[in-house]
């Protein structure tokens, strides 16, 4: 199974994206736990791109977010693509002092930390005008869920 979903860079549309992804995952028999992990990754990456991404150098019609989702064997792959200034979410520092600085901080530090922890593997590539992040999650075989 492989499919691609696009949304405009608008926070209100992130929930639509997640609703679509959830339907796809459910139809493919993916557990609620993995559905939750995918929702978390997509919400954090999309919100971060929408709130902090620099799209000043782009034409309006390029202001899109794109998610490719693939399910093969016991592996779920997500490819998150956003056009904008170069930004590698994997190179952002972990939120080391959450307690002290949290209200001054944007949610970005916290959100990207969650993405890095939830995904089993993640890699970043700059392709043309886009930041491309590839993530994988393994799917526990049926019946082995706790």
């Amino acid at each position: 199974m492989q499919m691609r979903l696009f949304i405009p860079r608008e926070q209100a549309r992130v929930d639509d994206l997640n609703a679509s992804l959830e339907a796809v995952l459910r139809n493919n028999g993916i557990s609620r736990e993995i559905q939750g992990n995918v929702r978390l990754i997509v919400e954090e990456l999309a919100s971060n791109a929408i709130q902090h991404g620099d799209v000043s150098g782009l034409e309006a019609q390029q202001h899109e977010l794109c998610v490719d989702i693939g399910i093969r064997d016991r592996l779920l792959t997500l490819e998150f693509r956003e056009s904008g200034a170069p930004f590698n979410p994997l190179e952002q520092p972990p939120p080391d002092d959450l307690d002290a600085g949290i209200l001054e901080r944007t949610t970005g530090g916290l959100g990207l930390h969650l993405v890095r922890q939830v995904a089993e593997q993640a890699s970043y590539e700059r392709i043309g005008d886009s930041n491309v992040l590839r993530l994988t999650l393994s799917i526990p075989s049926a019946g082995s869920a706790p």
Partner: protein, 130 residues
């Protein structure tokens, strides 16, 4: 799915709020608004029942931290009750955050609150609590 927020009748210096659904970018402002009038100097425990929560993201965590920060200056605490495994996992990932009071059940949280009340009485601070 959205977020349902049930604000229970206030107790002695404690306030219970139950959350159901998703606490995320789309709903955290609803929670902030619901909690704002409750976070007074008189409140020493905000008890958040998370047993009905399906999902939390960093935006939701930030709301919890904001409540904690609002209560902290006068010694108030945010207690989290019965977070389901998926929620617990996210709380654990950000364990650097001292959301230090997580309870398995409302009974455990109540026992903790009772113990805290007793300690206040034993320490004999003359504040009228209500």
């Amino acid at each position: 799915m959205s977020l349902d927020i049930a604000v229970h009748p206030p107790g002695r210096g404690s306030q219970r709020v139950s959350l159901q659904g998703r606490l995320d970018t789309h709903t955290y402002e609803d929670l902030d608004e619901a909690l704002a009038p409750l976070l007074t100097r008189q409140l020493h425990s905000l008890v958040l029942d998370l047993s009905g929560l399906d999902y939390i993201s960093s935006a939701g965590l930030r709301s919890l931290l904001k409540a904690r920060k609002a209560l902290a200056p006068h010694g108030g605490k945010v207690l989290l009750v019965d977070p389901p495994p998926q929620i617990r996992k996210v709380l654990d990932i950000v364990s650097a955050v001292p959301l230090n009071e997580i309870f398995a059940s409302t009974a455990e949280a109540d026992a903790y609150l009772d113990a805290m009340q007793r300690r206040i009485v034993e320490e004999g601070d003359g504040d009228a609590r209500d």
